[in-house]
Point group: C2
Chain length 574, copies 2
């Protein structure tokens, strides 16, 4: 922590106003877009100034975007991010102080917070607890802060600061700086969504309060970044642990809160205090804000919409295509695409084979019409037949098997990629997590594409989401027949999923215990049918090579098939 002016650590202070006015600036940053991210800061800082705020608080690593991964290894990247910090500093000419995340230092780099006022950076704080588990790799590129802590006096109130994981540590920096005299603690975050995360966050903040922390201002990032979804949901927790202000989930939000502080009780600060800004004069009323957290199914659906929207927007694409089979997975992807991008940007491709059923084609057509999306039909027979012809001299009189099924799926993959290449579209894949787990997919076939919208959604949740889509739209957008018919890949006559796999009501809990629960086979056979356990876990293990070549997609569980599950392909452990 580097400081500006400090005063003695045992000073006392009594304040004439009763609250700190804070702007929760929940912005949608993009990794590497240093100028664009700084522009968002300048936009919200001006709004905060206008609203009479004392401090505008931005998410973790505001300027670089989060997580910047190995970009932090480039000295030129660090230098460029500091240029934007200087640009922001030059704009702090009014009353409102800016709290901004950036990457500090060289050659050791810190996940840092800058306290900015009066045209300059008056102090910094370096994140002390660097997560290096799950989706996080911060110890790879960052050094943990270990400088003595200090407080910042903003508008006459002693404020402590911390970054994300710091607030998750029992007895960590948050209660520590409260014990040291902080009347309010600011915590800036890049905290990714997974199902149930809002409840966990509220519990964690309440725990810090129970350890003696002062009120906590929790500002989170919002937006999709590769497989991660930052869900926003910024909040303020008072000294009873109650949430007294909320920002919306899954959208940029700007929330102004007056946070009461105890007054006129004198505060004995034991940490050095950096003087940042003077008390405000008169200011406007705080606008009303009434936000509630979403229920689980709308929350999950909004997460998928944001992830899909941002992956396209941030990589420079606007239109998508995908194979629409008449089955439930591609129906859900169609809904997500239409709701996230607008139906005018969505192109469904029906690719029936000699084995496709009539009802599949008609269900697909009805769905495309319901959503108002462009759709075309390309029968794959010419490609299918051409491959069988080209392969006949090699295959001789061998019986057809999964090889010929894969060929059909790959013909579809080539068609989708060709359409995407020709028209500048992006291919969405339609596989769910249950399939990805057991390898019930064709590499370079149905896994071909740039973004896998529902790759971390188990099949049972696919059904729930499809039902929710119809509720949300208030009518039968996804045909009920699509939801109720037995699932099939339709790659041979009368094929059904349940010929190869146990019913999803059995499969999904087993997969969850094996994947998210890290249970071994010996443990699972205590809870599930032993033969099923051995067969399914083996399928999960040997499908690792497939998953490594599939596109990334929205992570919504505690352990997606991506950054947070790193298993070797060469692996003989069963």
């Amino acid at each position: 922590m580097s400081c500006g002016r400090t005063q003695s650590s045992d000073s006392q202070y009594a304040r004439s106003v009763e609250s700190l006015r804070v702007a929760l600036c929940q912005i949608n940053t993009t990794v590497g877009d240093l100028v664009g991210n700084a522009d968002l800061v300048l936009r919200d800082l001006a709004r905060a100034e206008e609203a009479g705020c004392d401090v505008a608080v931005f998410p973790e690593l505001t300027i670089t975007g989060y997580p910047p991964e190995d970009l932090l290894l480039k000295p030129g990247f660090i230098a460029a991010n500091k240029e934007q910090l200087d640009r922001i500093a030059a704009a702090t000419t009014g009353h409102c102080v800016a709290v901004v995340g950036f990457a500090d230092g060289h050659p050791d780099v810190y996940n840092a917070l800058a306290m900015i006022a009066n045209g300059r950076v008056v102090g910094t704080y370096h994140k002390r607890h660097l997560p290096n588990y799950g989706v996080f790799d911060e110890q790879r590129t960052l050094r943990a802060g270990d400088e003595p802590m200090n407080l910042f006096r903003i508008a006459g109130i002693n404020v402590g600061v911390s970054i994300c994981e710091d607030a998750w540590i029992p007895g960590g920096p948050v209660p520590q700086c409260s014990a040291g005299g902080a009347q309010i603690v600011l915590n800036i975050n890049g905290s990714p969504y997974r199902r149930g995360k809002m409840v966990v966050r509220e519990e964690v903040l309440a725990e810090r309060i129970s350890e003696g922390s002062s009120p906590i201002v929790y500002v989170n990032l919002v937006g999709g970044q590769d497989e991660l979804i930052f869900d926003g949901g910024s909040m303020v927790v008072d000294d009873t642990g109650a949430v007294i202000a909320k920002a919306r989930q899954y959208v940029e939000d700007f929330v102004v809160v007056d946070i009461p502080v105890e007054d006129p009780k004198p505060i004995a600060t034991s940490f050095p205090v950096v003087e940042v800004s003077a008390e405000p004069t008169s200011r406007p009323e705080v606008p009303a804000n009434d936000v509630t957290w979403l229920d689980p199914m709308p929350e999950l659906y909004e997460a998928l919409l944001l992830a899909t929207h941002d992956y396209l927007a941030k990589t420079g694409f606007s239109e998508v295509c995908f194979g629409l089979s008449g089955g439930i997975d591609s129906a859900l992807v169609a809904a997500i695409a239409a709701d996230a991008l607008g139906p005018e940007n969505v192109h469904a491709v029906l690719m029936p084979s000699r084995y496709s059923s009539d009802h599949s084609v008609s269900d697909a057509e009805v769905l495309a019409q319901n959503f108002g999306i462009d759709h075309r039909t390309i029968a794959i027979e010419p490609g299918h037949a051409a491959f069988l012809e080209m392969l006949a001299p090699s295959f001789g009189d061998r019986e057809p098997n999964v090889t010929e099924e894969n060929v059909q799926s790959r013909v579809r993959g080539v068609l989708l990629m060709a359409l995407a290449n020709k028209f500048g579209w992006l291919v969405l894949t339609t596989g769910n997590k249950s399939e990805a787990a057991v390898g019930y997919s064709t590499l370079y076939g149905d896994t071909a594409g740039a973004y896998a919208c529902i790759k971390d959604v188990y099949k049972l949740d696919v059904y729930r989401l499809a039902t929710y889509v119809n509720e949300r739209h208030g009518r039968e957008m996804i045909p009920v027949s699509t939801i109720t018919k037995p699932p099939s890949a339709e790659l041979r006559p009368d094929q059904r999923d349940d010929q190869s796999l146990p019913p999803y009501e059995e499969l999904d809990p087993l997969l969850e215990a094996y994947i998210e629960g890290d249970a071994t086979v010996d443990e699972l056979v205590q809870r599930f049918d032993p033969d099923t356990v051995r067969r399914i876990t083996r399928l999960v293990d040997i499908s690792e090579f497939k998953r490594r070549q599939t596109p990334l997609g929205a992570r919504v569980t505690d352990k997606g098939f991506g950054r947070d599950r790193r298993l070797p392909i060469v692996n003989r452990f069963r």
Copy 2:
């Protein structure tokens, strides 16, 4: 460090024999093959006993294989690895002590070394420095050891122990335990190859000696594991920094060395000493061992052979296929496959298109005959034509562009995958690092396959290796015309690489500076043509999504496109 019997830390000792007889047990473990890895230990322990060794030293994480990655998060995996440790302990009934790596502890897991004698584990050591950079993620799953250090008295000599990274730390555990009384330091490793690594290792060990370390026994793993190649090259460095014994690179090896210790000078130990084993009685002569390190090009080629061989062997495959175009990349892959797996296991597929040149087809045929590998020709015209027909209603009168080129490449990908599916082969891809860097490849086309033999080899090195292959075989196995003709993808009439890319003599150094050197564009324009820099670095950046879906392959540079380069796909930094 947990100890068995200890004696006072200031004890003195003079020994009647002048050397410790050590077996460098350079074995090829497989991740997750706990029983198989323990079997290898038992095999070499018996050999060491027979050779009259005092101690048999095995590589890092011997029992789990290295790196076990997130398998370490499964409590059942840790328990199963300890069962194998007990099995090994039960076999130490003779004079020879075993030094074995394993995963210790629960819930915190340590990268551990076990000192095993007389049927039991007499002491353990926990790795103190956990690498978390480059290809390493040890801080993700492991906890660093921080127990007080001690020594082990083996056959009357005080021995210190350490694990891999511990020996790379200036003033770290190696010189520390020497200062504490160790007469010899054992260091067990899972150190992956990259070009020039042997020199670096010798320098690092010499540095530890210069800091006061006693002679160091450096035992490395050998074998391929996913993208990593462990190259063996175990060695012993004496107290002048000279290498006095070497194990071969790229093969399992078993080397017995008598390491002289200063005698009769009394040794004042300041660390606690665990009594492990008594002095030996008479024993046989040490067999002669005369190993030299390989020159750079043979070293690189052997690395690629081992990687390719082990990926197949350890995933349970024996035969491969790939597209043989008549170009230099697939020619080199053919040589690697034939030399690594035996020509009888190699199937080349010639897949000419309407744009293929006659010389390409004839060069490919000559090469297949030279190596004695199975080859077949499948003209892709039927598939190519079928796709153009299926796509015609969508494409209308749009001009042909890269879309149609990609279709050809993808038809080949589908054919190779179908052959592999039908016959149980594994598809090798043939792209080099220069192509992977700039995205000069077709996703699901030439990138379709399970293992990418030369994905980390720059094009200029492809040429060098092709020339070396002919030297190695003593005749023109790869036709000289394949080496000398201008490179072309042959996806449109008269196409040549240099129509899209700068000459490889310009391209490769620029790529190396950008990728391995982490230089930014602003830095590169000082050294290379600015327009080329901007164009090429942009191609590298926007190809990240492609590389994420390509198969893994042998890593031979300081920064491969895999575990050691983790850049976001959504990334606007240029």
